[in-house]
Subunit: 497 residues, 2 copies
């Protein structure tokens, strides 16, 4: 008999029932081969005395082991380890040494270099991080949203929203968004044209998966939102890049590509091109829509910062001018409220929306109907409008201060156009310097310039990055400019030596 | 001059500023070709008088049109439609007739028949719907969850969770789940082995996308959870089916397939096989793990109803016995709490978890950190445990009543084993009848048997479906059995005539 008294360790403070602890320890003994097939277990009274547990506990454990098939009870003879348990394969390194190491997969899978562009980050206090244009979480109406969430959850009717539901997204939210988007973006859509997504990223992902398969062509900007590059490449697409100038994507270049290749789609951010912040001109808007019609292209229009315009009215999206069903319009409330609330939408002709809703079923089953209802309420009550009015004013002031200070303090180092909206500037570094050096020196000034490579996936050496201003308050803007100036002065010093 | 007075319609009750309304109407006129390139616009004073708007509004509109590039201002001459605006393509059907019809996409995309298995449903009152084993929303601790959510949202520290964050999921939730899963499932994982997902469906989707590409083989049960069939097929995988008997997947059949094909993965629900509810035997558990080691297989273990066991302790998952990194374990709190809260996890060796987290970035960017924190709190405080204890007791009673009534009332029609846990039975209809006929007759009894086809994707004609019991209270169980009995008696009457 193996030394049960030493081997079996019961933790009386554990939440787990004693008989389950005992059962699991027997299973381990059987699996490790310390109790071989056909071994007789001690009688329940004997074991109970040996290990100091109540006999009923031992009996419950044996019953459990029988139920699970690890042991068998032979009448008049006793309880035996099941003779059909195969001996478990020994591991090459042995249990003890192996368990201390990190185990890797026992199967192979391809580490996709495309996905490596996820650029993970960690944050340290006291550091200022350059972001590519995010909102200020401190201004998010998180309390108001949580209050609506709480109130809705206490209503009896919430019960209808707790189970498995539609993959199109909550009906009220779809209705509120239809009204809101028709009013603010000049769209002319109905509920049939909208599927709720988890932010615009999911809209882009759905469109990519359904449109682009192996080696199909998609046109993007020479500089482009890097996540969309990855999303389309992960889907198997081939990227064709066209230049971006002060009027947006070069539509003549698009036309030439369409003549040459069987292009499937164009990805564009016409309101403010990502990353350069330029607005697509009226001529090109019409040109691109005409090209889409002629070549049966899908235009994936990512309208990520429509709500943020300071010097002029927003320019209506391509989707508002699309009469031929070429535009797939993706957007979200993430930028307007806070990124954590992954509430977005994809707008397209009904036949495409239906396919998206079907696909959604297999990605994450469905959205969060309670949160979606909360946002339906938040939009309908006018809170979203009020919130936007408030933050747009603040961000405009921040833009003005930020641009003024950069112009005054960093002349000769950085050049940029004052953006008419959005949350970031497109800052070109004097060719004498490189972001690579600047980012190294900046770190010593507690200023982090992450991911600067991703702004030049087309490798045209523009020497520019996006610098978000909206998330910094006045004090932080001064501090940011101070640190960047110090950094650039040090870099200049190096150059001169 | 075109009749501006008739054409331009201003809605003073609209939220939109007057000058924006005016601007947008000019844009439409330009795009429709009613205002051709080089057309001179009326002076601001003239237009202001014509249409009854303040002159400043007209000036603001013209400035906006200039900014957007639709018109040009020529000094001393006036304002002209931009000469470079290309004339927009006429539509084949003409604007008016077209806009009344539903527009389809102006681009082509493949309607994937695989995705058509999404089986959409709608609900009518007074009808009883057969489900495949869902929890009762009326028991969901929705109020408690909303209270935690609200409380967390009012804390100052919430600010750290509102922005763009990690794609692994909230750190506190990962920690709570590590402790919880190690305690309850006998796992031995650290935070490095877990990535938070939106329910187990997303875990399965990530695993499928990363493991299975074109025409790679995955083994599943002859009867299987149909969503997983679709998930793997959508990813390009080829399904190999093995029989399922009272001990779960036939592992000898798996071994034969592995000898013959380069199998990549096995999908299994060993705790209670979906749909048949059988538990995989201890022998086969060891066998399948050994096969995985020998053939370098990934075992995707979907432990969807581990928390629900009535007659015995739960059987520890394969993941708890996996020393070689073969098991990818997916689960969620959706079944335990309510499907609407899409909080799940994927557990695997770190190298695979890292790749999942990278891919996640391009599906929906990240999870909902506020909800994830809420659940971290809900688990840590012991509320999840308490809730489970409560509902398991209720579901056990429902199972007992349900099975007793079915046995008493429907003998000769239906046969089934009493499941040891879970939320559904696997009910085989007497071969004399078919679910096709039964479901037609049932509808007249206000009883809906949806999606019965999906239980036999392997087409082995087992004539069985899952019937969920957990969502019905006592009254509803009696009513359900009454309607089903009536239905079957009618069907029997047909057969006898």
């Amino acid at each position: 008999m193996i030394p049960y008294k030493t081997i079996i360790q019961i933790d009386r403070s554990s939440k787990q029932a004693l008989y389950i602890q005992l059962t699991n320890q027997f299973i381990v003994l059987i699996k490790k081969g310390r109790l071989l097939p056909n071994t007789k277990l001690p009688g329940s009274r004997t074991l109970s005395e040996l290990i100091g547990l109540h006999r009923k506990t031992v009996v419950a454990c044996y019953e459990e082991l029988i139920l699970q098939g690890w042991v068998e009870s032979v009448p008049q003879k006793g309880t035996f380890v099941n003779k059909n348990i195969p001996v478990i394969q020994k591991q090459k390194l042995g249990d003890a040494s192996r368990s201390k190491k990190e185990i890797s997969t026992g199967f192979s899978f391809t580490i996709d270099p495309i996905l490596d562009r996820a650029f993970p980050q960690s944050y340290e206090e006291d550091f200022i991080y350059i972001n590519d244009g995010v909102s200020d979480g401190r201004l998010a109406p998180v309390n108001e949203i949580a209050m609506i969430y709480r109130k809705l959850s206490s209503k009896k009717s919430i019960i209808n929203h707790l189970g498995y539901g539609t993959t199109y997204g909550n009906g009220s939210l779809r209705e509120s968004l239809v009204t809101y988007l028709n009013e603010t973006r000049g769209l002319n859509i109905t509920k049939d044209n909208i599927v709720i997504t988890r932010g615009s990223q999911m809209g882009m992902y759905l469109a990519a998966q359904l449109l682009i398969s192996n080696n199909e062509y998609i046109i993007i900007g020479e500089t482009n939102y890097s996540s969309s590059d990855t999303t389309f490449e992960f889907s198997g697409g081939k990227l064709l890049r066209v230049a971006v100038d002060e009027n947006g994507l070069d539509t003549n270049a698009i036309e030439k590509l369409c003549e040459k290749y069987p292009v499937k789609a164009i990805y564009t951010t016409p309101h403010h091109h990502h990353p350069t912040t330029v607005t697509m001109s009226a001529e090109r808007r019409i040109h691109i829509l005409n090209l889409a019609k002629i070549y049966n292209l899908a235009i994936i229009e990512d309208d990520y910062d429509y709500d943020f315009h300071y010097s002029h009215a927003p320019i209506l999206p391509l989707a508002s001018h699309d009469k031929n069903g070429n535009v797939i319009y993706v957007g979200s409330v993430c930028k307007a409220v806070a990124p954590v609330y992954r509430v977005g939408y994809l707008i397209a002709p009904k036949n495409f929306v239906d396919e998206c809703a079907k696909m959604r079923r297999f990605i994450d089953r469905q959205g969060d109907a309670v949160l979606e209802l909360t946002f339906a309420n938040f939009i309908k009550s006018g809170s979203l409008d009020r919130h936007l009015k408030k933050v747009v004013k603040i961000y405009k002031n921040r833009r003005d201060l930020f641009c003024k200070l950069l112009r005054n303090e960093l002349e000769g180092y950085l050049s940029f156009e004052i953006p008419r909206g959005g949350m970031a500037i497109w800052a070109t570094l004097n060719k004498k310097y490189s972001w690579s050096t600047v980012s190294k020196i900046a770190k010593k000034q507690k200023l982090v310039i992450p991911e600067w490579q991703r702004y030049d996936m087309g490798e045209i050496n523009h020497n520019a990055i996006r610098i978000g201003f909206a998330a910094y308050n006045e004090t932080e803007i001064y501090e940011f400019v101070k640190r960047l100036k110090k950094t650039l002065e040090i870099v200049k010093g190096y150059e001169n030596n």
